[in-house]
Symmetry: C2
Subunit: 261 residues, 2 copies
Protein backbone atom coordinates (compact mmCIF):
# COMPACT_ATOMS: atom_id res chain seq x y z
CA UNK A 1 0.00 0.00 0.00
CA UNK A 2 1.00 3.62 -0.06
CA UNK A 3 0.28 6.95 1.58
CA UNK A 4 -1.00 10.09 -0.08
CA UNK A 5 -0.67 13.77 0.79
CA UNK A 6 -2.27 16.62 -1.15
CA UNK A 7 -2.55 20.33 -0.49
CA UNK A 8 -4.81 22.89 -2.11
CA UNK A 9 -4.41 26.56 -1.16
CA UNK A 10 -5.51 29.99 -2.40
CA UNK A 11 -1.93 31.29 -2.16
CA UNK A 12 1.33 29.53 -3.00
CA UNK A 13 2.46 27.58 0.07
CA UNK A 14 5.41 25.32 0.69
CA UNK A 15 5.06 21.73 1.81
CA UNK A 16 8.36 21.33 3.67
CA UNK A 17 6.88 20.82 7.14
CA UNK A 18 4.32 18.28 5.92
CA UNK A 19 6.89 16.46 3.78
CA UNK A 20 9.10 16.07 6.85
CA UNK A 21 6.22 14.20 8.48
CA UNK A 22 5.25 12.16 5.42
CA UNK A 23 8.82 11.19 4.50
CA UNK A 24 9.37 9.73 7.98
CA UNK A 25 6.74 7.13 7.06
CA UNK A 26 8.93 5.99 4.16
CA UNK A 27 11.11 3.73 6.31
CA UNK A 28 11.07 5.08 9.89
CA UNK A 29 7.57 5.59 11.33
CA UNK A 30 5.98 3.72 8.41
CA UNK A 31 6.86 0.90 5.98
CA UNK A 32 6.40 2.81 2.69
CA UNK A 33 10.01 2.47 1.58
CA UNK A 34 9.63 1.70 -2.15
CA UNK A 35 10.10 5.20 -3.45
CA UNK A 36 8.29 8.50 -3.32
CA UNK A 37 7.18 11.28 -5.64
CA UNK A 38 5.78 14.78 -5.49
CA UNK A 39 4.32 17.23 -7.97
CA UNK A 40 4.14 21.00 -7.53
CA UNK A 41 1.88 22.92 -9.89
CA UNK A 42 2.82 26.26 -11.41
CA UNK A 43 -0.14 27.27 -13.55
CA UNK A 44 -0.95 24.56 -16.09
CA UNK A 45 2.47 22.93 -15.70
CA UNK A 46 3.79 20.81 -12.90
CA UNK A 47 7.16 20.02 -11.54
CA UNK A 48 7.70 16.40 -10.52
CA UNK A 49 10.38 14.88 -8.30
CA UNK A 50 10.59 11.10 -7.92
CA UNK A 51 13.01 8.65 -6.40
CA UNK A 52 12.96 4.89 -5.96
CA UNK A 53 14.95 5.12 -2.72
CA UNK A 54 13.07 5.16 0.60
CA UNK A 55 12.11 8.75 1.42
CA UNK A 56 13.98 8.52 4.75
CA UNK A 57 17.29 7.85 2.97
CA UNK A 58 16.83 9.77 -0.29
CA UNK A 59 19.10 12.78 -0.81
CA UNK A 60 16.51 14.14 -3.23
CA UNK A 61 13.83 13.89 -0.53
CA UNK A 62 16.13 15.89 1.79
CA UNK A 63 16.49 18.51 -0.97
CA UNK A 64 12.73 18.81 -1.54
CA UNK A 65 12.06 18.88 2.21
CA UNK A 66 14.54 21.69 2.86
CA UNK A 67 14.13 23.89 -0.23
CA UNK A 68 10.67 25.47 -0.20
CA UNK A 69 8.88 25.26 -3.55
CA UNK A 70 5.73 27.37 -3.33
CA UNK A 71 2.62 26.13 -5.06
CA UNK A 72 -1.16 26.30 -4.73
CA UNK A 73 -1.50 22.61 -5.55
CA UNK A 74 0.83 19.88 -4.31
CA UNK A 75 0.49 16.07 -4.55
CA UNK A 76 2.88 13.70 -2.76
CA UNK A 77 3.10 9.92 -2.51
CA UNK A 78 5.21 7.37 -0.65
CA UNK A 79 5.08 3.84 -2.00
CA UNK A 80 4.93 0.35 -0.58
CA UNK A 81 4.94 -1.71 -3.76
CA UNK A 82 2.36 -4.39 -4.43
CA UNK A 83 1.99 -4.60 -8.21
CA UNK A 84 4.90 -3.31 -10.34
CA UNK A 85 8.60 -3.52 -9.47
CA UNK A 86 10.37 -0.71 -7.63
CA UNK A 87 11.33 1.43 -10.63
CA UNK A 88 10.97 5.03 -11.78
CA UNK A 89 8.25 3.99 -14.26
CA UNK A 90 6.08 2.70 -11.39
CA UNK A 91 6.58 5.66 -9.06
CA UNK A 92 3.62 7.98 -8.45
CA UNK A 93 2.45 10.64 -9.21
CA UNK A 94 1.96 9.86 -12.91
CA UNK A 95 1.65 12.70 -15.41
CA UNK A 96 -0.10 13.11 -18.77
CA UNK A 97 -0.97 16.15 -20.89
CA UNK A 98 -4.54 16.86 -21.99
CA UNK A 99 -6.03 20.18 -23.25
CA UNK A 100 -2.58 21.77 -22.89
CA UNK A 101 -2.49 21.06 -19.15
CA UNK A 102 -0.53 18.61 -17.07
CA UNK A 103 -2.75 16.10 -15.27
CA UNK A 104 -1.30 14.15 -12.35
CA UNK A 105 -2.56 11.11 -10.53
CA UNK A 106 -1.68 9.04 -7.47
CA UNK A 107 -3.31 6.05 -5.81
CA UNK A 108 -3.34 4.08 -2.60
CA UNK A 109 -4.90 0.62 -2.70
CA UNK A 110 -5.02 -2.27 -5.11
CA UNK A 111 -7.29 -3.05 -8.05
CA UNK A 112 -8.16 -6.46 -9.47
CA UNK A 113 -9.42 -7.13 -12.98
CA UNK A 114 -9.10 -3.48 -14.03
CA UNK A 115 -7.73 -4.61 -17.39
CA UNK A 116 -11.29 -5.52 -18.36
CA UNK A 117 -11.45 -1.78 -19.00
CA UNK A 118 -9.80 -1.64 -22.43
CA UNK A 119 -7.24 1.00 -23.31
CA UNK A 120 -7.62 2.24 -26.87
CA UNK A 121 -5.15 5.11 -26.69
CA UNK A 122 -3.83 7.72 -26.80
CA UNK A 123 -2.81 7.17 -23.16
CA UNK A 124 -0.77 4.05 -22.43
CA UNK A 125 1.06 3.04 -19.25
CA UNK A 126 4.85 3.39 -19.19
CA UNK A 127 5.14 1.04 -16.20
CA UNK A 128 2.99 -1.88 -15.07
CA UNK A 129 1.07 -0.77 -11.99
CA UNK A 130 -2.70 -1.05 -11.67
CA UNK A 131 -2.56 2.65 -10.69
CA UNK A 132 -1.06 3.97 -13.93
CA UNK A 133 -3.37 1.68 -15.92
CA UNK A 134 -6.39 3.18 -14.12
CA UNK A 135 -5.05 6.69 -14.73
CA UNK A 136 -4.64 6.02 -18.47
CA UNK A 137 -8.19 4.66 -18.68
CA UNK A 138 -9.51 7.68 -16.81
CA UNK A 139 -7.66 10.09 -19.12
CA UNK A 140 -8.98 8.22 -22.16
CA UNK A 141 -12.56 8.58 -20.93
CA UNK A 142 -12.13 12.30 -20.26
CA UNK A 143 -10.44 12.95 -23.64
CA UNK A 144 -13.07 10.91 -25.52
CA UNK A 145 -16.02 12.62 -23.79
CA UNK A 146 -14.57 16.14 -23.90
CA UNK A 147 -12.26 16.82 -26.87
CA UNK A 148 -12.15 20.35 -25.38
CA UNK A 149 -12.74 21.44 -21.76
CA UNK A 150 -16.51 21.69 -21.12
CA UNK A 151 -17.87 25.20 -20.53
CA UNK A 152 -19.31 24.25 -17.16
CA UNK A 153 -16.76 22.93 -14.69
CA UNK A 154 -19.57 21.08 -12.92
CA UNK A 155 -20.11 18.96 -16.03
CA UNK A 156 -16.49 17.85 -15.79
CA UNK A 157 -16.67 17.25 -12.03
CA UNK A 158 -19.75 15.04 -12.43
CA UNK A 159 -18.18 13.06 -15.27
CA UNK A 160 -14.91 12.49 -13.40
CA UNK A 161 -16.87 11.50 -10.29
CA UNK A 162 -18.65 8.80 -12.30
CA UNK A 163 -15.39 7.45 -13.76
CA UNK A 164 -13.78 7.34 -10.31
CA UNK A 165 -16.80 5.37 -9.06
CA UNK A 166 -16.33 2.87 -11.88
CA UNK A 167 -12.66 2.42 -10.98
CA UNK A 168 -13.58 2.02 -7.29
CA UNK A 169 -15.61 -1.06 -8.19
CA UNK A 170 -12.36 -2.88 -9.03
CA UNK A 171 -10.88 -2.75 -5.53
CA UNK A 172 -9.38 -0.36 -3.03
CA UNK A 173 -9.10 2.99 -4.75
CA UNK A 174 -8.07 5.93 -2.63
CA UNK A 175 -6.98 8.24 -5.39
CA UNK A 176 -6.23 11.87 -6.14
CA UNK A 177 -6.30 13.40 -9.63
CA UNK A 178 -5.36 16.96 -10.56
CA UNK A 179 -6.12 18.77 -13.84
CA UNK A 180 -4.01 21.81 -12.81
CA UNK A 181 -7.09 23.72 -11.57
CA UNK A 182 -9.08 21.17 -9.56
CA UNK A 183 -8.09 18.32 -7.26
CA UNK A 184 -10.44 15.31 -7.51
CA UNK A 185 -10.41 13.05 -4.46
CA UNK A 186 -11.86 9.54 -4.24
CA UNK A 187 -12.04 7.80 -0.88
CA UNK A 188 -12.43 4.06 -0.99
CA UNK A 189 -11.22 3.13 2.50
CA UNK A 190 -8.88 5.69 4.07
CA UNK A 191 -8.41 9.42 3.51
CA UNK A 192 -8.76 12.37 5.89
CA UNK A 193 -8.77 16.09 5.34
CA UNK A 194 -8.19 19.16 7.41
CA UNK A 195 -9.34 22.69 6.55
CA UNK A 196 -7.15 25.60 7.57
CA UNK A 197 -8.11 29.22 7.76
CA UNK A 198 -7.42 32.23 9.99
CA UNK A 199 -6.87 32.41 12.97
CA UNK A 200 -3.91 30.08 12.52
CA UNK A 201 -2.29 28.22 15.39
CA UNK A 202 0.78 26.16 16.06
CA UNK A 203 0.61 22.66 14.59
CA UNK A 204 2.57 19.56 15.63
CA UNK A 205 3.67 16.64 13.49
CA UNK A 206 2.57 13.12 14.43
CA UNK A 207 5.77 11.52 13.09
CA UNK A 208 8.38 13.92 14.40
CA UNK A 209 8.95 16.22 17.33
CA UNK A 210 8.44 19.30 15.19
CA UNK A 211 5.95 22.12 15.30
CA UNK A 212 5.13 25.06 13.04
CA UNK A 213 3.39 28.30 13.95
CA UNK A 214 1.02 28.73 11.02
CA UNK A 215 0.29 32.35 12.00
CA UNK A 216 3.85 33.31 11.08
CA UNK A 217 3.71 31.17 7.97
CA UNK A 218 0.43 32.20 6.35
CA UNK A 219 -1.26 35.52 5.74
CA UNK A 220 -4.68 36.11 7.32
CA UNK A 221 -6.53 35.62 4.03
CA UNK A 222 -4.89 32.25 3.31
CA UNK A 223 -7.04 29.14 3.04
CA UNK A 224 -5.86 25.59 2.60
CA UNK A 225 -7.16 22.04 2.58
CA UNK A 226 -4.74 19.24 3.45
CA UNK A 227 -5.50 15.63 2.57
CA UNK A 228 -3.66 12.60 3.90
CA UNK A 229 -4.09 8.85 4.15
CA UNK A 230 -3.38 9.16 7.89
CA UNK A 231 -3.47 12.59 9.63
CA UNK A 232 -0.05 14.25 9.68
CA UNK A 233 -0.64 16.66 12.56
CA UNK A 234 -1.80 15.85 16.08
CA UNK A 235 -3.62 19.00 17.19
CA UNK A 236 -5.84 19.79 14.23
CA UNK A 237 -9.31 18.63 13.36
CA UNK A 238 -9.01 15.96 10.68
CA UNK A 239 -12.20 14.62 9.10
CA UNK A 240 -12.20 11.07 7.76
CA UNK A 241 -13.92 10.70 4.40
CA UNK A 242 -16.56 8.01 4.14
CA UNK A 243 -16.28 5.00 1.85
CA UNK A 244 -17.35 6.18 -1.59
CA UNK A 245 -17.10 9.87 -0.73
CA UNK A 246 -15.52 12.19 -3.26
CA UNK A 247 -14.35 15.79 -3.06
CA UNK A 248 -13.42 18.40 -5.63
CA UNK A 249 -11.07 21.08 -4.30
CA UNK A 250 -9.89 24.39 -5.69
CA UNK A 251 -7.74 27.11 -4.13
CA UNK A 252 -8.05 25.82 -0.58
CA UNK A 253 -11.78 25.14 -0.65
CA UNK A 254 -13.99 22.12 -1.14
CA UNK A 255 -16.13 23.15 -4.11
CA UNK A 256 -18.06 19.91 -4.62
CA UNK A 257 -18.81 16.70 -2.79
CA UNK A 258 -20.21 13.45 -4.18
CA UNK A 259 -21.23 10.25 -2.46
CA UNK A 260 -21.53 6.71 -3.80
CA UNK A 261 -25.12 5.92 -4.76
Amino acid sequence: MCELLAMSANVPVDACFHLTGLFKRGGTTGPHKDGWGISFYEGRACHVFKDTLPSVSSAMARFVETHPIHSETILAHIRLANRGRVHLENTHPFVRELWGRHWTFMHNGQLKGERQLALNGPFLPVGNTDSEYAFCWLMEQIAARFPKPPRQSKTLWRFISEQLHILSSFGVFNAILCDSTYLYVNCSTKLSYCVRQSPFEEIHLVDSDLSLDLSTHLTADAKAVILATVPLTRNECWTALKKGEQLVMEKGEIVARFEAE
Copy 2:
Protein backbone atom coordinates in the same frame (compact mmCIF):
# COMPACT_ATOMS: atom_id res chain seq x y z
CA MET B 1 18.80 31.27 -27.88
CA CYS B 2 19.78 28.28 -25.77
CA GLU B 3 22.38 25.59 -25.39
CA LEU B 4 21.87 21.85 -25.60
CA LEU B 5 23.77 18.92 -24.12
CA ALA B 6 22.97 15.26 -24.73
CA MET B 7 24.72 12.04 -23.80
CA SER B 8 24.19 8.54 -25.14
CA ALA B 9 26.16 5.67 -23.59
CA ASN B 10 26.11 1.87 -23.52
CA VAL B 11 26.39 1.86 -19.71
CA PRO B 12 24.73 4.17 -17.18
CA VAL B 13 26.95 7.24 -16.75
CA ASP B 14 26.57 10.35 -14.67
CA ALA B 15 26.57 13.83 -16.16
CA CYS B 16 27.89 15.76 -13.15
CA PHE B 17 31.18 16.89 -14.73
CA HIS B 18 29.50 18.00 -17.95
CA LEU B 19 26.69 19.74 -16.09
CA THR B 20 29.25 21.74 -14.14
CA GLY B 21 30.53 23.06 -17.47
CA LEU B 22 27.11 23.62 -19.03
CA PHE B 23 25.59 25.29 -15.96
CA LYS B 24 28.39 27.87 -15.91
CA ARG B 25 27.00 29.13 -19.21
CA GLY B 26 23.69 29.90 -17.49
CA GLY B 27 24.84 33.26 -16.16
CA THR B 28 28.63 33.16 -15.77
CA THR B 29 30.50 32.10 -18.95
CA GLY B 30 27.32 32.37 -21.04
CA PRO B 31 24.08 34.42 -21.09
CA HIS B 32 21.58 31.51 -20.91
CA LYS B 33 20.06 32.56 -17.60
CA ASP B 34 16.34 31.96 -18.20
CA GLY B 35 16.12 28.55 -16.62
CA TRP B 36 17.41 25.08 -17.28
CA GLY B 37 16.18 21.50 -17.45
CA ILE B 38 17.50 17.98 -17.66
CA SER B 39 16.03 14.54 -18.27
CA PHE B 40 17.61 11.25 -17.23
CA TYR B 41 16.17 8.07 -18.76
CA GLU B 42 15.64 4.89 -16.80
CA GLY B 43 14.21 2.41 -19.29
CA ARG B 44 11.07 3.80 -20.91
CA ALA B 45 10.60 6.41 -18.19
CA CYS B 46 12.49 9.61 -17.62
CA HIS B 47 13.21 11.76 -14.67
CA VAL B 48 13.03 15.51 -15.31
CA PHE B 49 14.42 18.40 -13.26
CA LYS B 50 13.61 21.97 -14.27
CA ASP B 51 14.08 25.37 -12.75
CA THR B 52 13.37 28.89 -14.00
CA LEU B 53 16.31 30.32 -12.05
CA PRO B 54 19.65 30.76 -13.83
CA SER B 55 21.60 27.51 -13.61
CA VAL B 56 24.50 29.33 -11.91
CA SER B 57 22.29 30.38 -8.98
CA SER B 58 19.82 27.49 -8.79
CA ALA B 59 20.01 25.29 -5.68
CA MET B 60 18.39 22.51 -7.70
CA ALA B 61 21.15 22.79 -10.32
CA ARG B 62 23.71 22.42 -7.52
CA PHE B 63 21.85 19.31 -6.33
CA VAL B 64 21.77 17.71 -9.80
CA GLU B 65 25.42 18.64 -10.43
CA THR B 66 26.64 17.08 -7.18
CA HIS B 67 24.40 13.99 -6.86
CA PRO B 68 25.26 11.51 -9.63
CA ILE B 69 22.19 10.11 -11.39
CA HIS B 70 23.33 7.33 -13.69
CA SER B 71 21.63 6.97 -17.04
CA GLU B 72 22.37 5.77 -20.58
CA THR B 73 20.52 8.71 -22.07
CA ILE B 74 20.63 12.27 -20.74
CA LEU B 75 19.30 15.51 -22.27
CA ALA B 76 20.05 18.93 -20.76
CA HIS B 77 19.12 22.48 -21.76
CA ILE B 78 19.92 25.99 -20.59
CA ARG B 79 17.59 28.70 -21.81
CA LEU B 80 17.89 32.24 -23.08
CA ALA B 81 14.26 33.08 -23.73
CA ASN B 82 13.07 34.50 -27.00
CA ARG B 83 9.45 33.37 -27.43
CA GLY B 84 7.55 32.44 -24.26
CA ARG B 85 7.93 34.02 -20.81
CA VAL B 86 10.35 32.61 -18.24
CA HIS B 87 8.06 30.02 -16.63
CA LEU B 88 8.08 26.32 -15.82
CA GLU B 89 5.70 25.63 -18.72
CA ASN B 90 8.24 27.05 -21.20
CA THR B 91 11.29 25.29 -19.78
CA HIS B 92 12.86 22.50 -21.86
CA PRO B 93 13.06 19.51 -22.13
CA PHE B 94 9.36 18.89 -22.84
CA VAL B 95 7.87 15.45 -22.21
CA ARG B 96 4.99 13.48 -23.72
CA GLU B 97 3.99 9.83 -23.59
CA LEU B 98 3.51 7.75 -26.75
CA TRP B 99 3.45 3.93 -27.10
CA GLY B 100 3.95 3.65 -23.32
CA ARG B 101 7.27 5.50 -23.46
CA HIS B 102 8.30 8.96 -22.40
CA TRP B 103 9.48 11.11 -25.30
CA THR B 104 11.51 14.23 -24.55
CA PHE B 105 12.45 17.16 -26.74
CA MET B 106 14.62 20.25 -26.56
CA HIS B 107 15.45 22.96 -29.06
CA ASN B 108 17.92 25.75 -29.72
CA GLY B 109 16.92 28.35 -32.31
CA GLN B 110 13.79 30.16 -33.34
CA LEU B 111 10.98 29.24 -35.72
CA LYS B 112 8.70 31.59 -37.63
CA GLY B 113 5.30 30.69 -39.03
CA GLU B 114 5.37 27.19 -37.57
CA ARG B 115 1.71 27.56 -36.61
CA GLN B 116 0.86 26.98 -40.27
CA LEU B 117 1.39 23.36 -39.22
CA ALA B 118 -1.97 22.67 -37.61
CA LEU B 119 -2.26 20.78 -34.35
CA ASN B 120 -5.24 18.42 -34.31
CA GLY B 121 -4.46 16.64 -31.03
CA PRO B 122 -3.88 14.66 -28.97
CA PHE B 123 -0.69 16.62 -28.18
CA LEU B 124 -1.15 20.27 -27.23
CA PRO B 125 1.38 22.74 -25.83
CA VAL B 126 1.16 23.61 -22.13
CA GLY B 127 3.27 26.74 -22.61
CA ASN B 128 3.68 29.08 -25.58
CA THR B 129 7.12 28.47 -27.05
CA ASP B 130 7.72 27.67 -30.74
CA SER B 131 9.74 24.71 -29.43
CA GLU B 132 6.92 22.94 -27.57
CA TYR B 133 4.58 23.68 -30.48
CA ALA B 134 7.03 22.00 -32.88
CA PHE B 135 7.37 19.05 -30.49
CA CYS B 136 3.59 18.59 -30.30
CA TRP B 137 3.33 18.68 -34.10
CA LEU B 138 6.14 16.14 -34.40
CA MET B 139 4.49 13.80 -31.88
CA GLU B 140 1.17 14.13 -33.70
CA GLN B 141 2.81 13.10 -37.00
CA ILE B 142 4.51 10.10 -35.40
CA ALA B 143 1.34 8.96 -33.58
CA ALA B 144 -0.79 9.40 -36.72
CA ARG B 145 1.65 7.53 -38.98
CA PHE B 146 2.46 4.77 -36.48
CA PRO B 147 -0.37 3.91 -34.07
CA LYS B 148 2.09 1.24 -32.85
CA PRO B 149 5.90 1.24 -33.07
CA PRO B 150 6.96 0.08 -36.55
CA ARG B 151 8.71 -3.32 -36.73
CA GLN B 152 11.76 -1.83 -38.40
CA SER B 153 13.47 0.91 -36.43
CA LYS B 154 14.87 2.29 -39.68
CA THR B 155 11.32 3.04 -40.86
CA LEU B 156 10.86 5.21 -37.78
CA TRP B 157 14.26 6.90 -38.14
CA ARG B 158 13.53 7.82 -41.76
CA PHE B 159 10.08 9.17 -40.90
CA ILE B 160 11.35 11.27 -37.99
CA SER B 161 14.21 12.56 -40.18
CA GLU B 162 11.64 13.80 -42.73
CA GLN B 163 9.54 15.53 -40.05
CA LEU B 164 12.62 17.22 -38.56
CA HIS B 165 13.51 18.47 -42.05
CA ILE B 166 10.04 19.97 -42.41
CA LEU B 167 10.39 21.77 -39.06
CA SER B 168 13.86 23.03 -40.08
CA SER B 169 12.29 24.88 -42.99
CA PHE B 170 10.63 27.25 -40.47
CA GLY B 171 13.83 28.69 -39.04
CA VAL B 172 16.78 27.77 -36.86
CA PHE B 173 16.12 24.30 -35.54
CA ASN B 174 18.92 22.65 -33.61
CA ALA B 175 16.90 20.01 -31.84
CA ILE B 176 17.19 16.75 -29.98
CA LEU B 177 14.35 14.25 -29.55
CA CYS B 178 14.44 11.04 -27.52
CA ASP B 179 11.97 8.14 -27.67
CA SER B 180 13.64 6.38 -24.68
CA THR B 181 15.70 4.12 -27.00
CA TYR B 182 17.04 6.45 -29.71
CA LEU B 183 18.26 10.04 -29.69
CA TYR B 184 17.35 11.95 -32.85
CA VAL B 185 19.55 14.96 -33.56
CA ASN B 186 18.84 17.74 -36.06
CA CYS B 187 21.53 20.32 -36.80
CA SER B 188 20.33 23.52 -38.35
CA THR B 189 23.25 25.82 -37.51
CA LYS B 190 25.27 24.75 -34.49
CA LEU B 191 25.82 21.34 -32.86
CA SER B 192 29.00 19.35 -32.24
CA TYR B 193 29.59 15.83 -31.06
CA CYS B 194 32.43 13.89 -29.54
CA VAL B 195 32.78 10.09 -29.50
CA ARG B 196 34.41 8.47 -26.49
CA GLN B 197 35.80 4.97 -26.25
CA SER B 198 38.74 3.20 -24.62
CA PRO B 199 41.55 4.14 -24.07
CA PHE B 200 40.11 7.00 -22.00
CA GLU B 201 42.14 10.05 -21.06
CA GLU B 202 41.84 13.05 -18.80
CA ILE B 203 39.42 15.68 -20.09
CA HIS B 204 39.28 19.38 -19.23
CA LEU B 205 36.25 21.67 -19.11
CA VAL B 206 36.19 24.80 -21.29
CA ASP B 207 34.13 26.79 -18.76
CA SER B 208 35.83 25.84 -15.53
CA ASP B 209 39.25 24.88 -14.26
CA LEU B 210 38.19 21.28 -13.75
CA SER B 211 39.39 18.02 -15.21
CA LEU B 212 38.22 14.41 -15.03
CA ASP B 213 40.22 11.26 -15.65
CA LEU B 214 37.79 9.22 -17.75
CA SER B 215 39.89 6.05 -17.30
CA THR B 216 38.97 5.98 -13.60
CA HIS B 217 35.38 6.89 -14.41
CA LEU B 218 34.47 4.45 -17.19
CA THR B 219 35.07 0.75 -17.73
CA ALA B 220 37.09 -0.31 -20.79
CA ASP B 221 34.01 -1.45 -22.71
CA ALA B 222 32.15 1.84 -22.22
CA LYS B 223 31.19 3.91 -25.25
CA ALA B 224 29.57 7.32 -25.27
CA VAL B 225 28.62 10.09 -27.63
CA ILE B 226 28.35 13.62 -26.23
CA LEU B 227 26.51 16.35 -28.11
CA ALA B 228 26.68 20.05 -27.33
CA THR B 229 25.83 23.36 -28.93
CA VAL B 230 29.40 24.48 -28.17
CA PRO B 231 32.08 21.92 -27.18
CA LEU B 232 32.29 21.49 -23.40
CA THR B 233 35.82 20.04 -23.18
CA ARG B 234 39.03 21.55 -24.54
CA ASN B 235 41.19 18.51 -25.27
CA GLU B 236 38.85 16.19 -27.11
CA CYS B 237 38.02 15.91 -30.76
CA TRP B 238 34.64 17.55 -31.34
CA THR B 239 33.06 17.30 -34.79
CA ALA B 240 30.72 20.06 -35.93
CA LEU B 241 27.60 18.81 -37.67
CA LYS B 242 26.80 20.36 -41.02
CA LYS B 243 23.70 22.40 -41.73
CA GLY B 244 20.90 19.94 -42.36
CA GLU B 245 22.79 16.97 -40.94
CA GLN B 246 20.93 14.56 -38.69
CA LEU B 247 22.09 11.74 -36.43
CA VAL B 248 20.35 8.86 -34.71
CA MET B 249 22.19 7.59 -31.64
CA GLU B 250 21.74 4.53 -29.46
CA LYS B 251 23.83 3.25 -26.56
CA GLY B 252 26.85 5.42 -27.26
CA GLU B 253 26.94 4.90 -31.01
CA ILE B 254 25.77 6.78 -34.07
CA VAL B 255 23.48 4.27 -35.77
CA ALA B 256 22.22 6.42 -38.64
CA ARG B 257 23.07 9.66 -40.36
CA PHE B 258 20.91 11.71 -42.73
CA GLU B 259 21.68 14.84 -44.71
CA ALA B 260 19.37 17.49 -46.12
CA GLU B 261 18.56 16.82 -49.77
